[in-house]
């Protein structure tokens, strides 16, 4: 007789289904909870036997579980051949299976050893004085049996899972009256009461209703997944559905996160294709160190967001959002402590799609569309500009530049219109997935192309992903995640550099003298604007210049996972990220940047991150509850090296950067290398008692190479507690709350994101020349070494509530937190007499406080019509508490010295980081106003009336005040999903309230100075006969200060995406399983008072010290896409 037992645990004997006592649920990681662990019969065992003797099989059971099995040779047929596969079943069940048909049954003797006796001996297993519960779980709608449903006895450790036929068994339940609950993802839980009697089998069937909202998804928490109901920390989850599928094609990961998760604030740096974004989880946590979150891709800490002040910098642009299955954002210290030293800014866990057992599928998705500028800002025409210039110079006692005849004859060239175009956007994805039980696969390829709306700019990405999961045996599993991507981005002078004569792109076009043609009569480009602020010709740059940035990246990992026992598992992961970056820059001699004979620059860098993670996890019942524990060790090494060369004055422009050696003017080649490493020991314990009380303890000990010899290591502990009030007996009688959980957590995490080597006493190259021989000498350089350099530490208290109301029609999470960062890494000036100018030290502190709410509702749930909404909103307040003795630090953004004074930001104790600092203007001086300033010239009618805040009757730098902060008072997103028959409609709004933006472009566009072309609004300027206006009189001598009218309210509400979808009837496309057409619009309507192109702007990139400035940023596009998605 042979036994055939499938992996899923369905035992078949001679074609007849036989009840199995307990089988491992196929859904990991929630393992079935066993009966009394003290009984040897209830220990778990996994067997994979092929035609072995019964004796060998019994020996295997005994060896594996450590139990003693006693039997008589006469009673037990030891030579009988058996074959079976059992995954994690009880010893009792295994023995029952092995002894099936022998007339022998296991029992326990008084010493606790297992005795095999003939069934007729009368020592029944029911003598253990327990009963069992069994039944079937079905879909309440269709009546279909539901597999993988967890049925648990509420408030106890007893539970079981359903098989494919919907049946479950919970055995060994002591007699009593219990509440029984059945749970399955996508269904509302079902509850019922049962009475268990000694030795009896109680039947309880369930009919589960499909849930409006996925009530209890699995959430990644770093190194493990847990059910949302078991979470103790603050974690926001963005599913693929919310993130990509139904929304418009998203080019970069970061912009796709905007408005999707409570407490995650995303500002696009500009509208350039592939541009970077500032991502802040719960506010700015640092001043000098990076405040961007850590991104973990498929379990590997892969990337930190960029702290660079370069708005183009986007380390995540090589991740294709279409490959993402889900994003989980770890926010509070309890959640992020598992990432210890890198957890202070929050952690974004990215899980890519993986193959599932079953039918092989091919999905094709293709969309294309066009983009146009979302908003235009008119500028002065030639006559208006020439009159402005003349007026401005006349009011400053300067000669006029243009005669009446010149003005009358001047043609107008619309430079912004010449620079802009409507651009193509296209996305193609093919994905193949499926697999056998032992090997699952997902292979996908994608291509994205986005032309910019400014000439000369585009973004191209193509990539390939292969994810594999395999089972070598029931105990050993492996998997890989492999992706290869290449991004090529052209950005020839399109993103802002500064204002004035350093302006690029749209800002340059808006400043360019409108009376001058872009080319002279001979057809050559004119190189600069013939105005007193000679900005380079933006049309020439966009057309002729090459600025190609490429990134090729391979990211891969391989893991192996082995169950030592069903409760104990080891996992080891090896991963690598290999990245190659290149820049090709070439300016031909026909444009300003090209100089006399062309100018070229080539840059190449390669980076490598190697990671090894090893951990042991335990899952099992201990004491009164069940324990999930994890302990691990990880090592990550990073190195990158770069090389560059540049040259100028080539014999021809034709060879561009590909023959730098032919330039007559060579600059020295450059190269560099940076290496760093992190070693970590980590651990986490999650203990759940009676499904009501959940305790989490997390700790990570990190060693980082970047710190001083005395401070390499630090320990980051956290603890959390959650109380599932909804499972308490006293909550069973009410119907308002379907579920209710309170959470509290407290912990400490770190920030190590500073440049390496700063603790060392570094020698740098100091050049001198003798005649024309250049000599490199060595001298101490850089900052003062600090051997005591250590981690920034953030301690955070978080209190939260998760609730489901009104039969799960409403679910909400509410969190409040208070975080304090201490030992801030701050570059502090030291007296020059020490030989150094600054030193990186751990001083200072700052705090973030805030609340976050996310709310999902099912507004309409009918057969043919559903309407669901999700709202998230968050508020954060940041305050600098201490700067190590300094009271304030003044900072100049990248507007050159066009602002006077250049410092327009301040870090001041007691104020938010990134406060805007300038002159308060209270309207314009009018004829007859009482002048409160010593110099009557300062009160000339038509000039800005600047507040003399220090009362010295003169306007000086001391009169500057804080004009606001770049941080919003609150922000969030609202999404609505409607389905009606085959149609679906998704409408997503994002909003931001209370932040200020320096409209730095208007320093050249709105001050009526007339050195360069200005916005059309300047026509409305003050004149003696037109006094009712906010625009000052023309004045070429007006200092370019940061006046408060240049600091604008950045609040907005935006219809971010609108997607209309239609499910095609399956017969339309032969062989297709599903097919869908969709039309999406992005950035459709924005309600804002901001007068620049777009309030979603941040020209100073990720640097937390500069919040909210628009240095003539690349405008956002309005995008319409049409696409089709077919699955075969």
């Amino acid at each position: 007789m042979r036994f055939l037992i499938t992996v899923a645990g369905v035992l078949v004997v001679a074609g007849t289904p036989v009840r199995l006592y307990a089988a491992q649920a196929s859904v990991r990681p929630v393992a079935l909870q066993e009966a009394d662990p003290l009984s040897p019969l209830d220990r778990t065992v996994s067997l994979a036997l092929d035609r072995v003797s019964l004796k060998a099989a019994l020996d295997a059971v005994a060896r594996q579980t450590g139990v003693r099995i006693a039997y008589s040779r006469r009673v037990v047929p030891l030579n009988r051949r058996v074959s079976l596969q059992l995954a994690a079943v009880s010893v009792g069940a295994a023995l029952d299976t092995l002894l099936q048909g022998t007339g022998v049954a296991p029992t326990l003797d008084r010493t606790g050893q297992i005795l095999l006796v003939t069934d007729s001996d009368g020592i029944s297993r029911s003598a253990r004085l327990t009963g069992s519960v069994t039944g079937t779980v079905r879909d309440a709608g269709s009546g279909a049996a539901l597999a993988s449903v967890t049925v648990s006895v509420v408030g106890t450790r007893f539970s079981g899972g359903t098989q494919a036929d919907g049946r479950y068994v919970i055995s060994g339940v002591p007699p009593g009256t219990y509440r029984l609950r059945a749970r399955l993802l996508g269904y509302a839980p079902g509850d019922t009461s049962v009475v268990v009697q000694d030795g009896q089998e109680t039947v309880a069937d369930f009919g589960l209703r499909g849930s409006a909202i996925e009530l209890n998804p699995v959430v990644a928490v770093g190194y493990a997944n847990v059910r949302k109901s078991d979470l103790t920390g603050a974690v926001s989850t963005v599913s693929a559905e919310q993130f990509a599928t139904k929304a418009a094609p998203t080019v970069t990961l970061s912009s796709g996160l905007q408005g999707k998760a409570a407490g995650v604030h995303v500002i696009d740096n500009s509208g350039m294709p592939g541009v970077g974004a500032r991502v802040r989880i719960r506010g700015n946590g640092s001043i000098n160190a990076n405040s961007e979150p850590l991104y973990v891709i498929d379990g590997l800490p892969a990337e930190q967001g960029s702290n660079s002040t370069d708005p183009k910098s986007n380390p995540l642009m090589s991740v294709d959002p279409g490959e993402i299955q889900s994003i989980d954002v770890l926010k509070d210290a309890s959640a992020t402590a598992i990432y210890g030293a890198r957890g202070a800014n929050g952690v974004v866990l990215i899980t890519t799609r993986r193959g599932q057992t079953g039918k092989n599928r091919v999905t094709l998705e293709s969309s294309a569309g066009s983009q146009t500028i979302a908003r235009t800002i008119p500028v002065l025409n030639a006559q208006q500009f020439m009159l402005l210039s003349n007026d401005a110079r006349a009011n400053a006692n300067l000669s006029k530049l243009y005669s009446d005849a010149q003005i009358a004859a001047a043609p107008t060239y619309d430079y912004p219109a010449m620079l802009l175009r409507s651009g193509l956007q296209a996305n193609q994805t093919i994905s193949l997935s499926g697999g056998e039980q032992r090997l699952r696969y997902l292979l996908s390829g994608n291509f994205t192309r986005q032309e910019g709306i400014e000439l000369g700019s585009d973004f191209n990405r193509y990539g390939l992903r292969l994810n594999l999961d395999g089972d070598v045996s029931t105990r050993f599993r492996w998997g890989t995640s492999l992706s290869m991507t290449r991004v090529a981005r052209n950005a020839a002078g399109v993103e802002n550099a500064a204002v004035g004569n350093s302006a690029n792109g749209i800002q340059a076009a808006m400043q360019f003298a409108p009376f001058a043609a872009p080319r002279d009569t001979a057809g050559n480009w004119i190189k600069t604007s013939p105005s007193t602020e000679p900005v380079p010709n933006p049309i020439a740059r966009a057309t002729e210049e090459t600025d190609l940035n490429t990134t090729s990246r391979m990211l891969g990992s391989l893991f192996g996972e082995f169950d030592i026992t069903p409760a104990l598992r080891v996992k080891s992961t090896f991963g690598g990220s290999f990245q190659f970056n290149g820049i090709h820059f070439f300016a031909p001699r026909t444009i300003l940047d090209g100089g006399a004979g062309g100018s070229g620059w080539i840059y190449s860098s390669q980076g490598r991150v190697l990671t090894n993670e090893n951990n042991v996890s335990f899952h099992g019942a201990i004491g009164p509850g069940s324990l999930d524990a994890l302990a691990g060790f990880s090592v990550q090494t990073t190195d990158s090296e770069a090389v560059q060369g540049n040259a100028a004055n080539f014999p021809t422009d034709v060879t561009t950067v590909y023959n730098l050696g032919s330039g007559s003017q060579l600059s020295p080649a450059g190269s560099g290398v940076i290496e760093s490493a992190i070693l970590s020991y980590l651990g986490r314990a999650n203990y759940i008692i009676a499904d009501k009380y959940i305790f989490t303890l997390t700790g990570r000990r990190d060693g980082s190479s970047v710190f001083g010899a005395n401070h390499k290591w630090a320990f980051f502990p956290s603890g959390a507690f959650a109380w599932r009030i909804g499972n308490e007996g006293f909550m069973q009688g009410q119907s308002l709350f379907s579920d209710l959980k309170l959470r509290v957590s407290y912990g400490k995490v770190g920030n190590q994101a500073v440049a390496p080597y700063q603790s060392l006493s570094r020698l740098g190259v100091a050049w001198y020349s003798s005649g024309t021989t250049e000599i490199p000498a060595l001298a101490p350089g850089g900052g003062m070494p600090n051997p005591d350099l250590k981690w920034e530490e953030k301690t955070e208290l978080n209190v939260g509530v998760d609730a489901s109301l009104l039969n799960n029609r409403v679910t909400l999470s509410l969190d409040a937190y208070r975080a304090k960062t201490t030992d801030l890494l701050l570059s502090v000036p030291v007296p020059s007499t020490t030989g150094f100018s600054s030193q990186l030290r751990n001083i200072g502190s700052l705090q973030n406080r805030g609340v976050e709410l996310s709310l999902s509702t099912v507004n309409v749930q009918r057969e043919d019509l559903t309407w669901r909404s999700t709202l998230n909103v968050a508020a954060n307040r940041n305050k600098v508490l201490d700067l190590g003795g300094q009271t304030e630090i003044l900072l100049a953004p990248r507007t050159g010295n066009f602002f006077s004074p250049a410092e327009t930001y301040i870090v001041r104790v007691g104020e938010p980081l990134g406060s805007i600092y300038g002159y308060q203007v209270n309207g314009l001086w009018q004829q007859g106003d009482r002048c409160y300033l010593k110099n009557p010239k300062d009160c000339t009618p038509g000039e800005y009336k600047i507040a003399d805040t220090n009362g010295d009757s003169a306007i000086t730098a001391a009169d500057r005040v804080i004009l606001g902060s770049g941080d919003p008072k609150f922000y969030g997103g609202l999404s609505n999903t409607l389905t009606y028959g085959r149609f679906s409609l998704d409408v997503f709004f994002s909003f931001n309230y209370g932040n200020k933006i320096i409209n730095a472009g208007n320093a050249y566009g709105g001050l009526a100075i007339g050195q360069a072309n200005e916005r059309a609004i300047v026509v409305d300027r003050w004149t003696p006969t037109h006094t009712d206006t906010d625009v000052p009189r023309a004045n070429a001598a007006r200092p370019r200060r940061l006046y408060s009218p240049l600091v604008e309210d950045g609040s907005y509400v935006r219809l971010q995406t609108l997607t209309l979808g239609y499910e095609l009837p399956s017969r339309l496309i032969p062989g297709a399983e599903a097919a869908r057409l969709f039309l999406t619009g992005q950035n459709l309507v924005t309600a804002t008072d901001y007068s620049g192109f777009d309030p979603d702007v941040n020209s100073m990139g990720g640097d937390p010290r500069f919040g909210g400035i628009d240095i003539g940023a690349y405008p956002h596009a309005r995008i319409w896409n049409f696409g089709v998605s077919v699955t075969f």
Binding site: F562, G594, L666, S704, R762, S769, G771, T834, G835
Partner: protein, 529 residues
């Protein structure tokens, strides 16, 4: 079963190996640079550390350090259309402790002192086979330290006197009385003078050429400079010492006047016998570039055409441009970037936009002529590269120092002889001409008395050392000899100085940088600021 177990155990073994192998990973081992732990061990290290002091010296030609005494003097003014106070502020004497216009000397000088102290602290213990070069290196470091303190006292008076790395480790040093600093300067410079070579061998023994390394002559010039400053500004009456040190340069036979005044500054004549101390700018790459010439170069020579050109910032004041004796070669004015004159006018050569035919807003010359003695070899084509050496001490100054000292000592007739050697060279024009002007002092009825000759020497210094950053210090030190001279000269010669503020005499001395007082509260501020 066996297979999975072996896989699992090898996995565990691999993890274990990683644990064992990576404990060293946390020690930083930089590959792209070295650290002080591994340096200052050999003679070559010492020579390299010495050359690094020269690198700090380059700070003196930074924008603020170079243009502040230039523009603040009565000799030059900013372009009248320059709207940016960061650039034109020094012309209006619009500075305070925070503006940054006057603070650069502090950082530059203490950087030199830091590197010199490192050489002087570690050098004696280094076992260098080349003992001669080791002695030279130590003498160079002493010169550089003395010269740095000389700048500090001329600009700020009392400054912290820190003579070793241990002194510098004190985060709260106080200002040392200027007399004590001066004595330390004298000690450093006299020891350097004794040990430095009069001329260098062509190689430094470590493979590098030696042109531009400091010599005994440079130390003598610095000593003459110090005693001249002490005698005039501080009224210490040490004219004899000033005279002696200047005379030792004159008598050395190493240094001389070139025939052609303007050729002295030309890159093709680097290392000529008149240049006693310079900041060398190679013009080869940007490693030793300087932008100082850009302040003088006309803006419409290509800045706006993509060829760099200049910033069009510094013009001579009308008073100064008109003060030259007629025919003075040092005032020759040419047109275009190929001009060989000391001044340039008319900017059409590159831009073809000329003030007479168009209201070109960027035409520099609409605001007057510009100095052109710093004439790059590429005529300004590449704005990033500059091969003009920045002069700090020239032989002509030795002659004028000696003349001034002799005059103050009562030997006005001797002084006039030396003064006239300068005028004679100016008459030679390009070297071979024989002009009538500038005539010898005294031949047109000028008085040979102390005050008249003093005035003549100061004017000769203005003409001869024009745009070399000397005039401001001349105004300041003569104000001690003739109270009111500083303010009167500025008022009379440079209308811009009172454009923003009435003249306040405390501005004769520069403020201690506020950033330094913030970082070290033990520092006191100069009066008035």
């Amino acid at each position: 079963m066996r297979r999975t177990q072996s896989i699992a155990s090898s996995l565990g073994l691999a993890a274990l190996l990683v644990v064992c192998a990576c404990t060293d990973l946390l020690n930083e081992d930089p590959k792209g640079f070295t650290t002080t732990d591994t340096f200052y061990k050999s003679g070559a290290d010492l020579n390299s550390a010495t050359i690094a002091i020269y690198n700090s010296l380059r700070g003196l030609q930074g924008q603020a350090q170079w243009t502040t005494p230039e523009l603040a003097s009565d000799q030059t003014r900013a372009d009248n259309r320059e709207p940016n106070l960061g650039t034109s502020g020094p012309d209006f004497l619009d500075w305070d402790a925070s503006t940054g216009n006057t603070g650069g000397y502090w950082g530059t000088s203490y950087a030199m002192i830091t590197r010199a102290n490192l050489v002087l602290a570690s050098g004696p213990g280094i076992d260098a086979p080349n003992a001669q070069m080791k002695a030279y290196n130590l003498a160079e470091a002493k010169f550089m330290r003395g010269y740095a303190y000389l700048w500090l006292v001329k600009v700020y008076d009392d400054v912290p006197l820190l003579l070793s790395p241990a002194d510098q480790a004190n985060p709260r040093p106080t200002r040392t009385p200027v007399e004590q600093v001066d004595q330390a300067i004298i000690k450093d410079l006299t020891e350097a003078e004794a040990a430095l070579p009069a001329t260098w061998p062509s190689s430094d023994g470590y493979g590098d050429p030696t042109q531009g390394r400091v010599t005994r002559g440079a130390a003598q010039m610095a000593l003459a400079d110090l005693y001249q400053w002490r005698s005039s500004f501080m009224l210490k009456n040490e004219w004899q010492l000033a005279s002696d040190w200047a005379d030792s340069v004159i008598q050395s036979g190493v240094w001389a006047l070139n025939n052609d005044y303007l050729s002295t500054f030309l890159p093709k004549n680097k290392g000529n016998k008149e240049m006693i101390l310079v900041i060398a700018n190679s013009g080869v790459t940007t490693n030793t570039r300087s932008l100082f010439q850009l302040f003088y170069y006309p803006r419409d020579w290509g800045l706006d055409q993509g060829q760099g050109g200049g910033w069009g910032l510094i013009h001579p004041t009308t008073w100064f441009y008109n003060s030259y004796l007629s025919g003075d070669y040092r005032r020759d004015t040419g047109r275009g970037f190929a001009s060989q004159g000391a001044y340039v006018w008319w900017g059409c050569s590159v831009s073809n936009v000329c003030p007479a035919t168009s209201a070109a807003p960027n035409d520099t010359f609409a605001d007057g002529p510009m100095p052109y003695k710093y004439h790059k070899s590429d005529n300004g084509t590449n704005w990033m590269l500059n091969d003009v050496d920045t002069p700090l001490y020239r032989f002509a100054e030795a002659l004028l120092m000696y003349a001034e000292a002799q005059n103050e000592l009562g030997n006005s007739a001797v002084a006039v002889q030396y003064l006239n050697t300068i005028r004679a060279r100016a008459r030679k024009g390009t070297g071979a001409e024989s002009r009538a002007e500038p005539h010898d002092y005294g031949t047109a009825g000028e008085l040979i008395d102390k005050l008249s000759v003093r005035e003549a020497i100061y004017m000769e210094r203005a003409w001869e050392l024009a745009f070399e950053g000397k005039r401001w210090f001349d105004l300041v030190r003569r104000d001690s000899e003739e109270p009111g001279y500083w303010a009167n000269s500025l008022r009379a010669h440079d209308p811009n100085v009172e454009k923003l503020h009435a003249l306040a005499t405390f501005k004769k001395r520069f403020p201690i940088p506020q950033t330094q007082i913030n970082a070290n509260p033990a520092l006191t501020q100069n009066p008035g600021y």
